[in-house]
Subunit: 455 residues, 2 copies
Amino acid sequence: MTTQTLLDEIDRTVDQATGRLLEFLRIPSVSTDPAHHRDCGRAADWLANQLRDIGFESSVQPTEGLPAVVAVGPSENSTALFYGHYDVQPTDPLDKWDHSPFEPIIEDRAGGRVIRGRGASDDKGQLMTFVEACRAYRNVTGTLPRGVRFFFEGEEESGSPSLVPFLEKNRSHLSSSIALICDTGLFDHDTPAIVTMLRGLLAEEVTVSGPELDLHSGIYGGAAANPLRILSHILSQLHDHQGRVTVPGFYQNIPELPDDLRTQWKKLDIRSQSLLTSVGLAHPAGEVDRSLLEMVWSRPTCEINGITGGYGGDGFKTVIPATATAKVSFRLVAGQDPATIRRQFRTFVQSQVPADCSVAFGEYGASPACSFSLDHPLFDHVRAALSAEWPEDPVMVGCGGSIPVAGYFKSILGIDSVLTGFGLEDDQIHSPNEKYDIRSFHRGMRTWARVLSNW
Amino acid sequence: MTTQTLLDEIDRTVDQATGRLLEFLRIPSVSTDPAHHRDCGRAADWLANQLRDIGFESSVQPTEGLPAVVAVGPSENSTALFYGHYDVQPTDPLDKWDHSPFEPIIEDRAGGRVIRGRGASDDKGQLMTFVEACRAYRNVTGTLPRGVRFFFEGEEESGSPSLVPFLEKNRSHLSSSIALICDTGLFDHDTPAIVTMLRGLLAEEVTVSGPELDLHSGIYGGAAANPLRILSHILSQLHDHQGRVTVPGFYQNIPELPDDLRTQWKKLDIRSQSLLTSVGLAHPAGEVDRSLLEMVWSRPTCEINGITGGYGGDGFKTVIPATATAKVSFRLVAGQDPATIRRQFRTFVQSQVPADCSVAFGEYGASPACSFSLDHPLFDHVRAALSAEWPEDPVMVGCGGSIPVAGYFKSILGIDSVLTGFGLEDDQIHSPNEKYDIRSFHRGMRTWARVLSNW
């Protein structure tokens, strides 16, 4: 078989492949919402069946939480472990969607056709590029690509609580010499990217409690501790005027960027401005002395992801609430230990809670940052395939969004990962009207086909 | 008729009076929630019928918003205009109630029997003390008390948007020489209070907008402006370390307390500590150099009444929201003009919104503070009745909760108000499990009976 035959097969069947993806997208597998846990099971079954159809020995495996999908080909010793996740983000705010998030549609746009729906880009569309490449390989050669293993989890969007125990329990089933992770994006429309460093994540919930019950702000206003006022104060203390995080010890042991990478990123920095302009912003909001790419790739951050307290409905209620809650997350980089940062953060918050009030914390997952060695031969296969399939050569980048699994593959399975994907900045993942370009889906499949044919 | 006959009649019929109040409390007249506007209409009808039963000429009058109830006795020139409001606060958080808020119950407690339900104390139970006193008067004398007029509004808990136009339109119908307002509380269990100064209220909603859509805090975290971070910062700037409000000009033209009042309040200050201890607090949170009573009666405040933004549900969502909103209210004192404070507040907020972001404001009512002259003879009748009915003599106090209507009675009808009521600190008005002591209800009726008999 020549590579070209394989690429032709993909071009010929792209519509059927798209149809299968739409079917997958109709399953509302929102992992963070218990109301959707049955749907997550359905998504896992659907995926396992797809792989079985192609000829893989696939199964839905129980975990402590939502099920995982594992599949292997005929060859006993595996080269590459392909990873993706079948769960998706919640859809709120629902009223901002132009159509129902789980009734995906194909939309014709100036830039080309796109698939709209929750999970189209993160991560159902991306993981299917590899599944469909394997299907085409099978159709053309009658055999399966050798040494391929699949592992799909269903808790990526809710902090992967069951991932570590599952990996530890299934070390042998999953053993490979390297992992392929398809959950990232192109650098820009024409430039593919391989992620060689990932930020970690620490997610915390902070609840400040004051009076024993909600109070009338007229009768008690001015005299009673107001948890919303205390919480606002604490949150406002998390950054200084230079945009630096103020939690003591936060920047300890963080290495500076190697010069070669810094030079490469400098070249990319101008083009990266579209990261902000595409969402209606113009001014980088991070550390004043850092480049935009450093802010999102190699520097740690602290973000407030939600605040709730008091009356939020229509009209007005003059209340001093008994409690106020914030969800706060940190993006971590090499040198930062999640457990240590958590301890430092909680101490920092505690120190600002006045007498009369108390604070409680909730844990929503923690994963360290990591970076990868580029020695494995598959890394060069991927780089070559990307060069051949896309207008520009791939660039080595960092990734702001944490992909904990890559860190665990390293620490538990002892393997590096090659992270590449075909999402675009304007895919609106985690937001209303998420989409995935047909071009990304199509070239993604072709890219993997090239990798498989040179296996 | 002797006063004693009237008091005996009230003692004899207290259970029937309580039964009528329970009926009133079963109507969920939440004025701030459009879903309950029909119930507000039902509450107005119920009240108008009660007054008609007693013999008053009563009617439900349309306003630009929710209806008002107006009633007059036979005598053409009225002495006193009695005011109360039939609307109640929302019930959230509903899960904190021990029973359904609109299925009131009588509860036996160590301190005596109480009526539990939304509105029991604020203000349905209180306004019924006067209605029932009139009923007893009618039962005993066969005639109605002379010179009594009623005005009940249904928008007090939602900023009284229609009050001013209604008063202006009905000046003649409502003209009296003084108003009686029953929407306040006892100073403590044995000490009645007459409110001679009221704080005003300014209620604002602040919405900060940043990115055009919700963003993934991994991909954009550190680079994109986060409305929750900006809002927290702005809110944290509203007070300094001395607990003073920092809005420029906020304290301009505020007179100091007269020495005689300061002396009286000093005596009360120790006993007032229970204001905090009764809700699980111990440390006054206001201006460091002010007494607790000044904080809640004579000093202006700024409180955050609600914050919403980002993800507040179960689990965690790593999102940077496109917008974040806070409800902020100010308690105003003599010398502060609501319109001026609003302008100063908005300018203050505007000045802290960074490039890339915008802010929008919502108005939820504004009313000035006011204080009353004590010259009208009815003022002495009330003081004497309170002295006779309660263990301790009444004290002249301020009121932290704004009662806009008292200000409008002065500015539009040109009359002062006598404000007294029988609520207790632990009535939990505006909170779950609101209650009203049967003792307050009973002695309240007896207090008004004494006033009516010496009319």
